[in-house]
């Protein structure tokens, strides 16, 4: 039984009325004579952005400082980019990630007794100008598949199309706005292990246990060309050629198979262009980078980098001690969405589209003003490696230690600053993508976390687990933003739409679920 408070007494009521009717005197709260400090703004590469400027401690809230920096950079009010600041404590190596409400107090706590007139370096990280809200409820439960759902992916065009692959040998396209099935893609004779949208959203590729890859037209639901035969065993993963690299008016597709090879198909003709053979065991993951490299991870513990045009081996990394499960590129999000972005303006011409796709890729992969695509590999040996083949060759940038069990999946955040890894130790971990430092551990699942997906603004992360739930996390604080029970069994596949409106998930309970806020 609930406990009720006694009704307020006459005196309490009178005081309440008095308090609400009179104006509060807030002047002592805003002490103006706190002094000031000199702020030196640097960007994430350490370059100075503006001249050093003096800021009053009383005005130095994160929002104010962000507005100030935008003004100093000479931006119009409409073009303001929200910034997050990391504070370098003067005279020490400490970098504080969170901007505090009381900056003066923080400095004093770190032993800067007299912070007035000192120069404090603030590194500014631009945030996404749009904000994705955490999904909080199930929008639709769409039955249809007759067997567990093994893969799902949203269309890069919008969140209204979701493709799923299932153990009932079909892939399906769903209209997520209405929660209805759109097309059933029949043709495979084995489980559909992967679905992948082309970066322009006009083709859908599916790979299957029946050793074939099929291409579909998602508008009509009809197959595009015949099935791509050639692999000797199950096809486990696929990767589309990034849009800005498309040549001869056709896309290409790389597919990884259990037979240890990776094949590159010319989509329009169905011809095999190259067979990348060399792995000694099942190729578990393939990624196609934006500067023309193909990255493959295999059960033979090696990671290989190939030249996509010539079909030759560029690098072979054999540092992992066990199967390589997953590869993520720092430009994954940009490559997947091609020329689509949050502004929704699509260039009219082919060249324009290509140019925009290239620009988006270069922005995503740029470090210190240089395009260098990084990638991270997750392995069964409980570790991950961060690689930078452009600068470091076959030497890893960092080894990401911390998981206590196999790491199943790893994902770069869309802005390329964070890495999320999902493991069999029931936890998801957040890492700094720059140096591979461990940041946060997201605990809450009671069973292995199979999949994770970032929201487009890199602020939120959704994880799907064996324990039948999805959980949404705030990546910055590491707090659980939302717990989403609803699945009746293991969640095998989860994806966050590129426009951030929706999360789609599927699993062993055979029904597709979409989630929104």
């Amino acid at each position: 039984m609930a406990t009720f408070l006694p009704p307020p007494t006459k005196r309490q009521k009178r005081e309440e009325v008095e308090r609400t009717t009179t104006q509060q005197d807030v002047t002592p709260l805003l002490a103006t004579d706190l002094g000031s400090f000199k702020a030196n703004f640097v960007d994430s590469d350490g370059n100075q952005m503006t001249d050093v400027i003096e800021i009053n401690f009383s005005d130095a809230t994160e929002r104010n400082v962000s507005v100030l920096l935008n003004t100093l950079l000479g931006r119009d009010r409409e073009d303001f980019t929200p910034y997050r600041f990391r504070i370098h404590i003067p005279g020490k190596d400490i970098i504080v990630d969170h901007y505090p409400t009381d900056l003066l107090g923080l400095l004093q706590k770190h032993g800067v007794t007299n912070p007035f007139e000192t120069t404090i370096t603030l590194s500014a990280e631009p945030q996404a100008v749009f904000k994705v809200q955490a999904v909080s409820r199930m929008a639709h439960r769409i039955p249809g598949h007759g067997q567990p759902i093994l893969a799902c992916q949203f269309s890069p065009v919008s969140s209204s199309r979701l493709a799923t692959g299932s153990g009932d040998n079909t892939a399906r396209i769903w209209d997520t706005d209405t929660g209805t099935p759109k097309h059933t893609l029949k043709g495979h004779t084995g489980w559909v292990l992967g679905v992948s949208w082309s970066p322009d959203g006009e083709r859908l590729a599916t790979c299957s246990m029946d050793k074939t890859v099929r291409i579909w037209d998602p508008e009509t639901g009809k197959p595009f060309g015949s099935d791509l035969k050639g692999h000797a065993k199950w096809v486990l993963a696929m990767a589309w050629e990034p849009y800005h690299l498309w040549r001869d008016d056709t896309a290409r597709l790389a597919s990884a198979s259990k037979d240890g090879t990776c094949r590159i198909w010319v989509v329009n003709t169905g011809r095999t262009e190259h067979v990348l053979s060399g792995h000694k065991s099942s190729v578990s993951c393939v990624r196609w980078g934006g500067n023309g490299h193909i990255y493959t991870g295999s059960h033979d513990k090696s990671v290989r980098v190939w030249d996509a045009v010539k079909g030759t081996l560029v690098h072979s990394m054999t540092t992992h001690a066990h199967w390589v499960n997953h590869i993520a590129l720092s430009s994954d999000h940009a490559l997947r969405t091609g020329y689509f972005d949050h502004t929704k303006d699509v260039p009219g011409t082919e060249e324009g589209k290509r140019e925009k796709a290239r620009e988006r890729f270069e922005n995503a992969a740029k470090i210190n003003g240089k395009v260098c695509e990084r990638f991270v590999t997750a392995s069964d040996d409980f570790t991950m490696y961060l690689w930078d083949p452009t600068n470091n060759g076959t030497k890893p940038v960092a080894r990401l230690l911390g998981h206590q069990n196999k790491v199943n999946q790893v994902q770069f955040s869309p802005d390329g600053t964070l890495i999320a890894s999902a493991g069999w130790d029931n936890s998801t971990k957040i890492w700094n993508a720059r140096d591979g430092k461990f940041l946060k551990s997201l605990r809450g699942h009671v069973a292995p976390v199979y999949q994770c997906a970032w929201s487009a603004d890199s602020r939120l992360l959704v994880t799907g687990s064996k324990d039948c739930t999805l959980k949404v996390w705030n990546a910055r604080t590491g707090n659980l933003a939302m717990d989403l029970p609803g699945h009746e069994d293991e969640v095998y596949a989860v994806d966050w739409a590129a426009d951030g409106k929706m999360v789609g998930s599927g699993g062993k309970d055979k029904a597709v679920r979409t989630w929104r806020n």
Partner: protein, 249 residues
């Protein structure tokens, strides 16, 4: 604390002898000599029992060796497709899926309403009081009254159970008939797991027990680990010396 765990208690309080490991190692090292001596010198019934024991041990050993040998054989094992569809990242993994399969079976069955209250063995016979309790008459004063009872059927007592003082103890639960663990079988999967007993639905005439399934990793729909589930006893524990049960799905 259970009454009979005085050795564990002592170790907890005072630790072990410093040479425990050494003694254990030496004892294990002498084991072969001991066995040989027994095998050569025992006579009569003892020899018979001993031979039987060794026979069983040797069978186990041979089986284990055979398994190891099979494991070492390298060859093109026939590629088997798993029965239930699983995503690419779970293929080729030796998954301990049985327990999980358990839970989903249970869930599927629960969805059918009619199945919710059915038990595998529908007819349960009640036990009369005379059969259940044996009257104890001890002491001269108590001679006529006979107010003490010995439970003649297997019982379950929790780990924190302590006997009352003899003077006040009305029901005596013999140690030999106490059970803490049950061998629980899943009926359709034919998986048998030994699980600790959490409680008994009605002690003792209704053979329904609640077992601790937290080891199996069964998860509820809201993502919490399921703790207990009911199982029905299938054997006669007082005759068999063990407790077999079938999980209710």
């Amino acid at each position: 604390m259970p009454q009979n765990e005085y050795i564990e208690r002592h170790t907890k309080l005072h630790g072990k002898r410093l040479d425990t490991e050494e003694r254990a190692r030496k004892k294990a090292a002498r084991e072969g000599h001991k066995q040989s001596e027994n095998a050569q010198n025992l006579r009569g019934l003892r020899a018979k029992l001993y031979a039987k024991e060794r026979h069983a041990q040797k069978i186990q050993m041979r089986k284990a060796i055979k398994q190891h040998e099979e494991r070492n054989v390298k060859g093109a094992a026939e590629e088997k497709e798993p029965a239930n569809p699983i995503p690419a990242y779970l293929l080729d993994r030796a998954n301990p899926t049985n327990a999980k399969a358990l839970s989903s079976q249970i869930k599927n069955k629960r969805a059918e309403k009619a199945a919710r209250f059915s038990v595998p063995i529908p007819k349960v016979k009640g036990i009369s009081e005379e059969e259940l309790f044996k009257v104890v008459k001890t002491g001269k004063k108590m001679h006529k009254k006979g107010w003490k009872r010995v439970v003649t059927k297997p019982t379950f007592v929790g780990p924190d159970f302590t006997r009352r003082p003899v003077k006040y103890e009305r029901f005596i639960r013999p140690m030999g008939l106490r059970y803490k663990k049950a061998n629980v079988t899943h009926p359709t999967l034919n998986v048998t797991v030994q699980l600790p007993i959490l409680g008994v639905k009605k002690n003792p005439s209704n053979p329904l027990i609640e077992v601790n399934v937290s080891d199996l990793g069964i998860v509820t729909a809201s993502g919490k680990i399921a703790w207990g589930r009911y199982a029905q006893i299938t054997n006669n524990p007082e005759n068999d010396g063990c407790l077999n049960a079938v999980l209710l799905v």
